[in-house]
């Protein structure tokens, strides 16, 4: 895990976002844009964390409830929520989060390995934790979070 954390974080910039009282971050390079919440069209036979699809300038963009995807309670989207449009593999995906909090530049020193206590779900996507100004930010690997997206693109 230490090795993975190192290899993934050599002086890169991250976007931090908040879901309830927890903070997470993803690589800024995978983020295409950040936009406000618009009601999504529900998809039949979709996993519960897929809120539906929205129109992103002509493209059909699936919206993922990050709160539910990360094992927390379902979000109740309001106009104050934001959607992070991220690129995962060949596909774009919209991540619904409570707010975007920060842009961080981190080096390997800032990254600590994921604690052993985390459950399997968390272990799958967490690539380490950051301690910044007394906050704890969990670094997420989007490819691990949506492996199906990537495998279908391939």
């Amino acid at each position: 895990m230490t090795y993975a954390a190192k290899s993934l974080t050599q002086g890169r910039e991250l976007i931090a976002f908040r879901i309830e009282d927890q903070e997470f971050c993803v690589n800024i390079m995978s983020v295409r844009e950040i936009r406000g919440w618009t009601p999504a069209t529900p998809m039949p036979h979709a996993p519960q964390y897929v809120l539906g699809v929205i129109n992103l300038r002509g493209a059909v963009l699936p919206i993922i409830d990050m709160s539910m995807r990360l094992g927390m309670k379902p979000a109740e989207p309001t106009v104050r929520h934001v959607i992070i449009v991220a690129q995962v593999g060949q596909k774009a995906v919209g991540l619904l989060v409570d707010a975007v909090s920060d842009i961080l530049t981190v080096t390997d020193d800032n990254v600590q390995p994921t604690p052993d206590i985390a459950n399997e779900t968390a272990k799958n996507y967490a690539r380490g934790i950051l301690a910044i100004e007394g906050r704890m930010i969990c670094m997420i690997e989007l490819e691990a979070l949506f492996p199906h997206v990537e495998s279908e693109a391939a």
């Binding site: 618009t38 529900p42 059909v60």
Partner: protein, 760 residues
């Protein structure tokens, strides 16, 4: 521009040439004896050969060469292009296409077939001439000299010193025949990037030569046109390669110069070759060509005995045949080799020039660019709709100038959309042409004689539709020839023309393209189809089916999985596949068959896959789009018409027939309990297998043309949903996959398990 790009252009041109070749041959097959048609065919093969030579595609070159040799015999009237000859030639065109594809994509070709054809072609070229022709066969095969075909179009001044060439004639070497060459380049030679110096240099490599430059026609400086060619050269060369070798050097330039080659010992031979260079599809002024050909045509009256035209003098050991083929001594006037023919072609350019001028100029554009434009216009349409909607919502007066402007904008965007869609529209011709090859091949295999008649091949339809049309059409043509048409003997016994006819027609009808495939075979043998269906448990043994219903059984998936299907004199091989691919294109296929007279398959397809006519409906608070093509009728069910059936099924009676009700909201998991049918609207849809279903929706919002958006691009395929679209309010609406929904309604329990697994 790197080599690969040039190569890619070559292959694109090859495709055009092959299409030209095939259509020319088919014209000849229909009895057209216009020399221009023969020339067009010849040019097509020659251009492919020329280009292939430049890229070192030896297989292609050698095959094209033999083909060209035989065509040359046709061109010079030595070989009558009768049906048998054309059969071989059409097959050769197929092989040429295969070779081209193999050269482009790698992969192998059927070598035995091409070898066999080479033999047949050679036999044809040989066939009509006396065996006693003199023997240029001793001549060694000259190597191919690929004259540089530069792609810079600009004129270049000739950079050489005249002094170098001003010397006296060298003494003739005794053992090598001496050729006298009169070489007069025309301006086209330079305009095409050829270069006299380089030709002369190549010439100097094959033997000892002396050159005199004739500068007599050089005008005073003030009259000089810098783009005109004024010099001509008299060359005397001693080469063991003989005339053939000399002509090889000029192979790619022969149409753009006056060229006269004579072997000194045989005084009376001459040829002047002139023609437009077919490698250049750029139309050019033929009148210039006419001006300069006085000498050429004059010379051409001389009989041209062993002279092999430069066309044939290329690279392989079949040269002797080519040379011999035009060595027939009698009828020398008529036979003055290609020269007369070519002169005739040049003198007769009015028709071809006119047709060239009539063809509107075109450009090649990357498909990606067009698609991007189409996408953007789709956005524009959506945005315009959104704008209109929000203006209407905020403006109650309804007569403001904004409204008027918006209306104009709406019209403009619609026009832009139509024009952009027209860019993607292509004639169905290429697909139809491919079909003629399929017909030939399958007719060969089955030993039937088949005539394919195509109509409306210029009917235009979206390129994606064309691309996806080829496969089902191939299938159907195969079936039509294999199962539809009877064997020639049987046809004769029935009093029909032993040659069967397959007619392929395309036309526009009410915003769709209708493609009809008709054969004059035996029609569908309904008894056998019915028996087969009973054997396969598709229908009950005592089922009472109309003729039409029996015909439609052949589209049933279960029908074709049976073995030995070709025993059935009707069709059935993979017709379910055909139907499915037509439906995937948003089309329908119908069949009508008359025993003893043949069958007609009619396909109706949308003109484009980018937009779709749909009915916008509401289901459980969600907006859905149902493709209009699937809907037969809509109706408001009455409580008395609804009948429960079994545990959860319900049927609706429509004009005394019962039709299963399908609750769309339930299938798509939008609601957990069945809706009350009386509150909603039923859409009667035609589904796979011919049966009808009534889809229950809550309300109909209206009918609209929608732009199709892929769901798979960013998400995954969703069962029951074909695609997505964006409505006027900017929200995404899902387009219903009617067949999938109907299929799901059949095996409802299975569907629910899937959906539970997905949500869990």
């Amino acid at each position: 521009m790197d080599m690969n790009e040039i190569k890619e252009i070559f292959f694109q041109e090859c495709e055009e040439q092959l299409a030209e070749l095939e259509s020319g041959l088919l014209k000849l097959n229909d009895g057209d004896r216009d020399p221009e048609t023969v020339n067009a065919v010849f040019r097509a093969v020659h251009s492919i050969k020329g280009g292939a030579g430049a890229f070192g595609l030896d297989d292609l070159v050698s095959f094209a060469h033999v083909f060209e040799t035989t065509l040359d015999c046709v061109r010079s009237n030595k070989l009558d292009p009768n049906q048998d000859v054309l059969k071989v030639m059409l097959k050769s065109a197929d092989v040429l296409a295969d070779l081209t594809n193999a050269a482009r994509d790698g992969g192998g070709v059927d070598e035995a077939r091409s070898k066999q054809l080479i033999r047949e072609l050679e036999a044809l070229a040989n066939g009509e001439m006396p065996a006693a022709s003199e023997a240029p066969a001793a001549k060694p095969a000259p190597a191919l000299v690929a004259t540089p075909v530069a792609d810079d179009e600009g004129f270049q001044p000739i950079p050489f010193s005249f002094d170098d060439f001003g010397g006296e004639e060298k003494p003739v070497e005794p053992f090598a025949p001496t050729c006298e060459i009169l070489f007069h380049p025309k301006r086209e030679l330079y305009a095409k990037g050829n270069e006299a110096t380089l030709l002369l240099r190549d010439l100097s490599r094959i033997g000892e030569m002396s050159i005199r430059c004739d500068m007599d026609s050089l005008p005073p400086l003030e009259d000089m046109n810098p783009e005109e060619a004024y010099f001509s050269w008299k060359i005397s060369i001693a080469t063991e390669k003989g005339e053939d070798g000399v002509r090889t050097v000029f192979e790619f330039a022969e149409w753009d110069c006056d060229l006269e080659v004579r072997t000194v010992e045989e005084d009376h031979e001459a040829e002047a070759g002139k023609d437009e260079l077919p490698m250049q599809p750029v139309p050019f002024d033929l009148s210039i060509l006419d001006d300069g050909d006085d000498d050429a045509t004059g010379e051409a009256d001389e009989p041209a005995a062993p002279l092999s035209s430069a066309n044939t003098a290329a690279e392989s050991n079949v040269v002797p045949i080519a040379a011999a083929s035009r060595a027939e001594p009698s009828r020398s006037e008529a036979r003055a080799a290609p020269a007369v023919q070519q002169a005739a072609a040049a003198a007769n350019p009015a028709a071809s020039a006119a047709s060239a001028a009539a063809a509107a100029p075109t450009i090649r554009v990357d498909l990606d660019r067009v698609d991007r434009l189409i996408n953007l216009v789709g956005e524009l349409v959506i945005n315009q709709a959104m704008l209109s909607q929000s203006v209407i919502e905020n403006d109650n007066t309804g007569v403001s100038s904004i409204n008027m402007g918006l209306e104009e904008l709406q019209q403009l965007t619609r026009e832009i959309q139509d024009s952009v869609m027209a860019i993607r529209a292509q004639p169905v011709k290429p697909v139809f042409q491919r079909m003629s090859r399929i017909v030939r091949e399958i007719a060969d295999v089955t030993g039937k004689s088949v005539r394919l008649i195509t109509e409306g091949e210029n009917t235009e339809v979206d390129k994606t539709v064309i691309d996806k049309l080829a496969e089902p059409l191939t299938h159907m043509i195969r079936n039509a020839v294999d199962h539809g048409l009877e064997a020639p003997e049987k046809r004769e016994a029935l009093g029909k023309n032993p040659e069967g006819t397959v007619r392929l027609t395309a036309k526009h009808r009410s915003g769709r393209i209708v493609i009809e495939l008709a054969d004059d075979g035996g029609g569908i043998n309904r008894e056998k189809v019915r028996q087969k269906a009973i054997d396969n448990d598709l229908i009950a043994a005592d089922a009472n089916l109309s003729d039409e219903e029996i015909d439609n059984l052949i589209f049933h998936a279960g029908f074709s999985t049976a073995d030995k299907i070709s025993d059935i004199s009707g069709r059935g091989v993979g017709m379910d596949v055909v139907k499915r691919s037509i439906q995937a294109l948003g089309g329908r296929i119908t069949i009508s068959s008359k025993p003893g007279q043949g069958s007609v398959f009619t396909m109706s397809l949308p003109l484009t896959l980018a937009v779709l006519d749909g009915m916008v409906v509401t289901v459980a608070g969600q907006t859905l789009v149902v493709p209009l093509t699937a809907i037969v009728e809509t109706l408001q069910p009455e409580a008395s018409a609804i009948h429960s059936f079994g545990a959860s099924q319900r049927l609706i009676s429509i004009r005394n027939s019962f039709c299963p009700l399908v609750d769309v909201g339930r299938i798509l998991n939008f609601r957990s309990t069945q809706a009350d049918p009386v509150d909603g609207v039923a859409l009667l849809v035609e589904s796979e297998g011919g049966g009808q279903r009534a889809l229950m929706v809550d309300a109909i919002q209206g009918q609209r043309q929608v732009v199709i958006k892929s769901l798979e691009a960013n998400y995954t395929h969703v069962p029951g949903i074909a695609a997505a679209t964006i409505l006027g309010d900017g929200r995404v609406a899902l387009i219903l996959d009617v067949d999938a929904v109907v299929a799901a309604s059949r095996g409802q329990s299975l569907k629910q398990e899937i959906s539970l697994a997905a949500t869990g």
